[in-house]
């Protein structure tokens, strides 16, 4: 087994991780805003009317909902916060993989854009799990989240928070760097063969 090309690629990816994380952390507040906008779109589809607006402080997003809650004898709107970094760090992994594959900037930017819906998904499900599960049945009922929808939210949240943040960058890399992968691993042509075989 010739492991050298894969090992060389892995080493390059490891070396690129540090500068990639630094770059990601530097742009994280703006990145959070864009991912928050995608979360807004997801929520408009998954729970229409639930979200009024999204505000950002640093890398923390505040989801201002239309749900009414009592606050010191008065009534206010529920605001739920979510840290964006845990959903957007995959950008650093993606950058490291793309740089290790010596991909052109055009593809890197395309891939970074490709990741945004996945990051938005994680943030959207973060809000839904807070509203539909963590804050109790009263809030969940007010949001219209009950029965199978709560189960779907739990699964969607697990996928969006545990798997997608680190897996989506690898899939985006594989899609955008297919010629590189086939050069690295000739058998990767089997991914095409599998479609016809």
């Amino acid at each position: 087994m010739k492991a050298t090309p894969v090992a060389a690629f892995a080493l390059r990816a490891l070396l690129w991780l540090a500068p990639s994380f630094a770059l990601w952390y530097g742009v994280a507040p703006w990145h959070a805003s864009i991912a928050g906008a995608f979360a807004h779109v997801w929520l408009a589809v998954l729970a229409p009317g639930l979200l009024a607006t999204v505000e950002r402080t640093g890398t923390t997003l505040a989801f201002v909902t239309t749900l009414r809650v009592p606050v010191a004898g008065q009534e206010g709107f529920l605001v739920a916060e979510a840290g964006a970094l845990v959903y957007t760090y995959g950008l650093a992994l993606f950058l490291a993989l793309m740089m290790a594959a010596r991909a052109p900037w055009r593809r890197i930017l395309a891939g970074a854009a490709l990741l945004l819906p996945f990051q938005g998904w994680g943030l959207a499900l973060d809000l839904l799990v807070q509203v539909g599960i963590n804050l109790g049945p009263g809030i969940a009922a007010q949001a219209g989240l009950a029965g199978w929808r709560r189960e779907a939210i739990a699964l969607g949240y697990q996928v969006g928070s545990v798997i997608l943040p680190s897996l989506a960058p690898v899939i985006a890399w594989a899609v955008l760097c297919r010629p590189f992968i086939e050069g690295l691993v000739p058998r990767a042509g089997g991914m095409q063969q599998a479609t016809t075989g």
Binding site: K2, L155, V159, I163, I171, V185, G190, M191, A194
Partner: protein
């Protein structure tokens, strides 16, 4: 690649949903996580006798610092990703099973390193622990899965991709 990706995602979501069911949590995930904590404590105890594992919790008996191994950190999700990637790729079953066995060993080995490193990193600096726990190690584990999968692809016989 579209068919491969569709198979991969279908197997991935199926296995992940299965993992989240209460019976599997009780029968597999909880004992596995406790075993991981025990193994990590046993290895760490070779150089540090003040490490104790209780269930899924790893604790220092000197300063009381403790970490609890939760979903996403027990290596099961990474294993599911690797299994899905190997099952979705057309290859002889013998190679799939060998790949899964060797791949899981590689992923779990690195995961033990992750747990032990986080345990000591947390005692040194909580900020560094948070960074390594939430971002760095997640990326490293997925990179490990990717490299194992690429190595497995290289190890397949030339006709493997076309095998029935």
């Amino acid at each position: 690649m579209g068919r491969f990706l569709a198979s991969f995602v279908a197997i991935l979501v199926g296995l992940f949903a299965l993992e989240l069911t209460p019976p599997l949590q009780v029968a597999l995930v909880a004992p596995w996580t406790a075993g991981l904590a025990w193994l990590s404590a046993t290895l760490a105890a070779a150089v540090d006798p003040h490490v104790l594992a209780t269930g899924k919790v790893l604790r220092s008996t000197t300063n009381g610092f403790a970490i609890s191994i939760e979903a996403g950190c027990n290596g099961i999700e990474a294993a599911i990703v690797l299994i899905a990637a190997m099952l979705a790729f057309r290859a002889p079953w013998k190679h799939r099973l060998l790949g899964i066995a060797a791949g899981l060993a590689a992923v779990q080995l690195l995961n033990v390193v992750r747990v032990i490193s986080l345990f000591y990193l947390g005692q040194w600096s909580f900020a560094a622990f948070e960074w390594a726990h939430l971002y760095l190690w997640q990326a490293l584990i997925m990179l490990d899965v990717l490299v194992v999968w690429l190595l497995w692809l290289r190890a397949l016989p030339p006709q493997a991709a076309l095998a029935p």
